[in-house]
């Protein structure tokens, strides 16, 4: 416990996490601080490209390991995690079936920024991780959407999940969505060019990375807190769900990491992936395919509650647990 607290404290004292806190404070005191949308999107693309390249390079250096098994596990996790979230939400009567299905898809998918922050946490401690984790993140982004829509259609009737030809289109769109393309593309590039090629872009992709993350987390702090403030649909039950669900999913992540034989870094990251909730790709998909579900609920839970929790407390916690499990 003492160790966890000291890890959390050290985490909170990193400039990146403090920038997140600064953003949240700015939103709390209703500052007009605004990171232009174009800059935030540019930063997001940079972070995804850089993290992809780093992962690909790591894979090129350390070699494959159980690549296929890892990816298969990622897909299975993303397909199945929403079922647990849905069951919990329905069991505690926190939401109706359609809203519950939409929320559950978010918790089966992943948050890239949470992952990126966790990688930074590891780097600050000199803990290595397997490059394949980046590919696993890409693989976990979309299957959860399918499960979420399936859960909703059980109660709505399949027809109400908007027009079937729309659904086909939706799936194609989700698979080719920008984040996945940049992540996977960066991963392949990092792997293909190897250490000598990456050397050429190291000052940009590696050296200034933490600083870019500072700016981006400043924006995320703003956005997360504003979302939380503007929300009218939250109940105590929902907030508790958004704080406990990451822990449940992290537990499943630990089990999966053990099955795959991951080391400390990989274990902490896989737990983080399971614990994190999407707030970009999944909301967009849900909004179009399941308009009856309220975005004020699913965006607020994943972006306004679970994301800050993971950044501030979750990541050091999962790391500490991974240390015990590995030790």
């Amino acid at each position: 416990m003492g160790e966890i607290l000291s890890l959390a404290g050290a985490n909170l004292l990193s400039p990146m996490v403090l920038c997140f806190v600064l953003g949240a404070v700015a939103a709390l005191i209703r500052s007009d601080l605004e990171i232009p949308e174009a800059v935030a999107k540019g930063l997001a693309i940079y972070l995804m490209l850089a993290i992809g390249m780093k992962g690909g390079l790591a894979l090129a250096k350390t070699g494959g390991g159980n690549v296929a098994a890892s990816l298969a596990m990622a897909i299975v996790l993303s397909f199945s995690l929403p079922v647990l979230a849905y069951a919990v939400l329905r069991a505690v009567r926190a939401l109706g079936p359609v809203d519950a299905a939409a929320v559950s898809a978010h918790y089966g998918s992943v948050s890239i920024v949470t992952f990126v922050t966790a990688v930074e946490f590891l780097a600050a401690r000199g803990t290595p991780y397997d490059g394949i984790l980046v590919a696993m993140m890409a693989a976990m982004e979309t299957p959860a959407i399918v499960t979420g829509l399936f859960l909703a259609s059980r109660s709505l009737g399949a027809s109400a999940v908007k027009r079937p030809q729309r659904r086909a289109k939706l799936l194609r769109e989700v698979l080719a969505n920008g984040s996945i393309v940049v992540l996977v593309g960066g991963f392949v590039i990092g792997w293909a060019v190897g250490p000598s090629g990456m050397k050429k872009v190291e000052p940009f992709m590696v050296d200034i990375y933490n600083g870019m993350l500072c700016l981006f987390l400043l924006d995320m702090g703003l956005v997360a807190m504003r979302q939380l403030r503007s929300s009218h649909d939250l109940t105590v039950r929902l907030i508790v769900f958004a704080l406990v669900m990451p822990l449940l999913n992290a537990a499943i992540g630990f089990a999966a990491a053990r099955l795959l034989g991951f080391g400390l870094g990989g274990t902490a990251l896989l737990a983080t992936l399971c614990a994190s909730a999407s707030y970009i790709a999944v909301p967009a998909a849900m909004r179009l395919a399941l308009p009856q579900a309220r975005p004020g609920i699913y965006v607020t839970l994943s972006l306004g509650v679970t994301f800050p929790f993971n950044v501030a407390i979750g990541i050091p916690l999962y790391f500490a647990i991974a240390e015990r499990l590995a030790g």
Binding site: I280, R287, V299
Partner: protein, 102 residues
């Protein structure tokens, strides 16, 4: 030169729906349209505003000039079609000089 009457259809709708809306307008024979992106607003669904990390809370204004019958049909269909989405639709009268264009 003669002046011709047409209807202007204006639709404020959540940005994710724009491809759908535009397809629907074109299916009705509309010959062109204009979209104004990143529009904010307030309505039954509460505050909707751009500068968001996702486009879930962003609106777009779609404008199309079309013959009166087309416009009325679109207005009527919109009630059903856009029911579950953040959206409003309204028509107004306009005058144009090149009737073949609209």
């Amino acid at each position: 030169m003669e002046i011709h009457r047409r209807k202007k259809i204006e639709i404020v709708v959540e940005s994710g729906m724009v491809p759908d809306v535009v397809e629907w307008l074109v299916a009705h024979g509309v010959k062109g349209y204009t979209t104004v992106p990143k529009v904010s607003g307030f309505g039954r669904q509460g505050r909707r505003q751009t500068e968001e990390i996702s486009r879930v809370f962003e609106n777009t204004l779609v404008i199309a000039i079309a013959p009166e019958e087309t416009a009325r049909l679109i207005l009527i269909e919109s009630v059903e079609r856009l029911r579950d989405y953040a959206a409003i639709v309204y028509l107004s009268d306009v005058e144009v000089a090149r009737p073949d264009h609209f």
